[in-house]
């Protein structure tokens, strides 16, 4: 009844506590991600059943290969959500980065060594603007990133009128469409990115501080954690990841338009939340987000292959997203208990 008493009952007794029960040994943070990953695999297997002609590995490669943009962009989204914020400018940054890389490289590989850093820097700079607005001017993240997204989209439109007039550097195209040892290069990129992102979020002191700030801003303030600085950092990384996704997308499509990132915005949010993060902040790991991104990509694949009318596709997609949340939500509570 009284919170303190209930807390006392859930606490393991001080004597005779040797091995924790089995469900305590699985890191509860991993559970939603695992659940969603299982859902994704079920989806891929289901599509294999429906098309016995297709190979499982090709399906998997298609799911993975087309998920790379979401995988990369949702890491940044995840960091902002970890802080209890959100980044609605991701779609715009993707478009701007894609446009920039094709304008700057002008179809020549020789320009890449400086064009890539410049593009990434611009993406990061938009993130800095977001972060500063949120951390210093105390504008709510939802509004700050929404407004900055609209603003930068308008600026991008003003500068480029929406169309990159130069082709993308061939090296970038080869990166996205080539194979190494028979495996599409994007899959290697995904593996590298997932490792780097997981290490950053869950294996560094900075990552730990981000969790702390998202978990309890009040306590973080009392402890003297650099809240402002880390908030700016999170949004900067979000901008940076969006810019990387933009580079990849430009390479993949071998062309760029300003609006090409738009369809990715909502999926980044969905991937993070389906992966078990809380929009209140402080909870969730990148592996969960990664599983969420794969799940959404698998869902898209199976729905594409089903060849339904758009109306039915939407209904099924919406229902499956809710269903995945439902399955994952209950487990989550069970393990937390």
């Amino acid at each position: 009844m009284a919170p303190r008493v209930t807390a006392a009952t859930t606490e393991p007794s001080s004597e005779g506590q040797s091995t924790p029960p089995i469900h305590r040994r699985i890191n509860p943070e991993l559970v939603p991600g695992l659940m969603v990953l299982v859902c994704a695999i079920v989806l891929i297997a289901a599509s294999k059943l429906m098309n016995p002609g297709a190979g499982f590995t090709q399906e998997l490669a298609a799911v993975l290969g087309t998920s790379i943009f979401l995988v990369v962009a949702s890491f940044g989204q995840g960091l902002t959500i970890l802080l209890g914020g959100i980044d609605l400018s991701i779609g715009v940054v993707i478009g701007i980065a894609a446009m920039m890389i094709s304008v700057l490289t002008d179809g020549r590989d020789a320009t890449l060594p400086w064009a890539v850093p410049v593009t990434l820097a611009v993406g990061a700079a938009i993130g800095v603007v977001n972060g500063v607005g949120i951390a210093l001017a105390k504008v709510p993240p939802f509004i700050m990133t929404l407004a900055s997204g609209i603003t930068f989209y308008g600026a991008g439109l003003g500068f480029t009128s929406g169309l990159a007039q130069e082709p993308v550097a061939p090296a970038l195209e080869r990166l996205m469409n080539g194979h190494w040892f028979g495996v599409p290069i994007p899959i290697f990129l995904i593996i590298a990115f997932v490792i780097a992102a997981t290490v950053f979020q869950n294996g560094t002191s900075v990552g730990r501080k981000l969790y702390a700030i998202g978990s309890s801003p009040g306590a973080a303030r009392v402890l003297g954690l650099p809240i402002g600085g880390l908030t700016v950092l999170a949004y900067t990384l979000s901008g940076l990841c969006a810019a990387i996704a933009g580079l990849f997308l430009a390479g993949y499509s071998s062309a760029a338009t300003l609006d090409m990132g738009g369809p990715l915005l909502l999926p980044t949010i969905a991937a993070v939340v389906i992966g078990g993060a809380s929009v209140m902040g402080g909870r969730g790991i990148y592996l969960g987000t990664f599983a969420g991104a794969l799940f959404l990509s698998a869902l898209e694949t199976i729905i594409t292959v089903l060849s339904l009318s758009q109306g039915l596709r939407d209904i099924i997609e919406g229902a499956i997203i809710v269903g995945a949340l439902l399955a994952q939500g209950e487990r989550w509570n069970w393990f937390r208990r």
């Binding site: 709510p140 939802f142 509004i143 308008g154 909502l266 389906i274 109306g311 596709r313 209904i315 919406g318």
Partner: protein
């Protein structure tokens, strides 16, 4: 002092007051730069342009007050639009379709509210799901733009009634309902739940039911917004509400409602919707170059929010000086 107290009771925050000032300012600039703004025609047009967003934002505000996200609005508006376009013909069509869209909105709201309020799932993701599904339903009902909205709706709701634009009457009606709601137990519970869910539960409030009702009422408002949109467009288009969502959220935020819940109100959101509409008109009247309209929209939105947050910061500053 009495007035301030009364405003506070009607949940008209300082943020909303600033929004009103901003609105008046923009309206004056708009009127000064374009002829015919103050004519009956100009006023009716402006109100017609505002009413859909205003009603939708009013609904959204209810869920935002309970500290939840609701992205399903554009889905409901899309369904409402195609339903009105396919069912409103016939003598009593306007009434049937009105109740129809309200019921559809309530049903979607009920689903959202059940998933979020009762099953305690995260509203952001849940409503992304229901939004996509609703858009699918709209596409199933009407695969391409078409259908016909009954003239009684199309002309009746966009014209004048007793010398007043119907859109104005609708907005006033929504505000009146809101002011009533704000002083009912449900209204109070909305704020309590949004401010501190635990305290609200310990105080004996039915948190789940409150959230459920917030979503249901929001859904009905979206239905009404879809109805109004149909009146304006005179036809059905399953994609008519594309790109509407961000404007809904912007209206709520500019109106001084905190996205963290528990602070703000519908009045502010209606003004926020008005600001967004008049801003578009003002920028047009000032002749801002097309490519940069977005730049200005974004910046004005930010400025509005910044000014809106000042009153919350000011008392703290003043208290520290005194």
């Amino acid at each position: 002092m009495r007035i301030a107290e009364r405003l506070r009771r009607l949940q008209i925050s300082a943020g909303a007051a600033v929004a009103v000032l901003l609105y008046v300012l923009m309206y004056l600039v708009y009127a000064a730069n374009e002829s015919g703004v103050l004519s009956q025609f100009g006023i009716t047009n402006l109100l017609n342009d505002t009413v859909v967003l205003a009603v939708a934002a009013a609904g959204l505000t209810l869920t935002v007050l309970t500290a939840e996200f609701d992205l399903s609005g554009i889905g409901v508006i899309a369904i409402a639009n195609v339903v009105v376009a396919t069912t409103s013909a016939g003598p009593a069509g306007w009434l049937v379709s009105l109740f129809g869209v309200l019921a559809i909105g309530a049903a979607v709201g009920l689903l959202n509210g059940w998933l979020v309020g009762v099953l305690r799932m995260q509203s952001l993701a849940v409503t992304i799901g229901t939004m996509i599904a609703c858009e699918g339903v709209a596409l199933l009902i009407l695969a391409a733009p078409g259908g016909q909205v009954a003239d009684s709706i199309a002309n009746g709701l966009t014209g004048d009634l007793l010398g007043l634009p119907v859109a104005a009457l609708i907005i006033l009606g929504v505000l009146l309902l809101w002011f009533l709601l704000a002083v009912t137990r449900l209204g109070i519970a909305l704020y309590a739940v949004g401010t501190d869910e635990t305290a609200a539960r310990l105080s004996g409030l039915a948190v789940r039911r409150t959230k459920l009702l917030a979503f249901v009422l929001a859904g009905m408002a979206y239905g009404l917004a879809g109805y109004m949109l149909s009146a304006q467009t005179g036809s059905g288009d399953p994609r008519a509400s594309d790109g509407f969502l961000l404007f809904m959220y912007a209206s709520v935020a500019i109106g001084g409602t905190s996205l963290m819940g528990g602070r703000g109100g519908v009045f502010g959101s209606v003004i926020g919707a008005g600001i967004l509409t008049v801003m578009q008109k003002m920028l047009f009247a000032l002749g801002a170059a097309s490519f940069y309209t977005d730049v200005f929209s974004g910046l004005i939105m930010l400025v509005a929010i910044l000014i809106g947050t000042l009153p919350r910061v000011m008392p703290r500053l003043r208290r520290s000086v005194a």
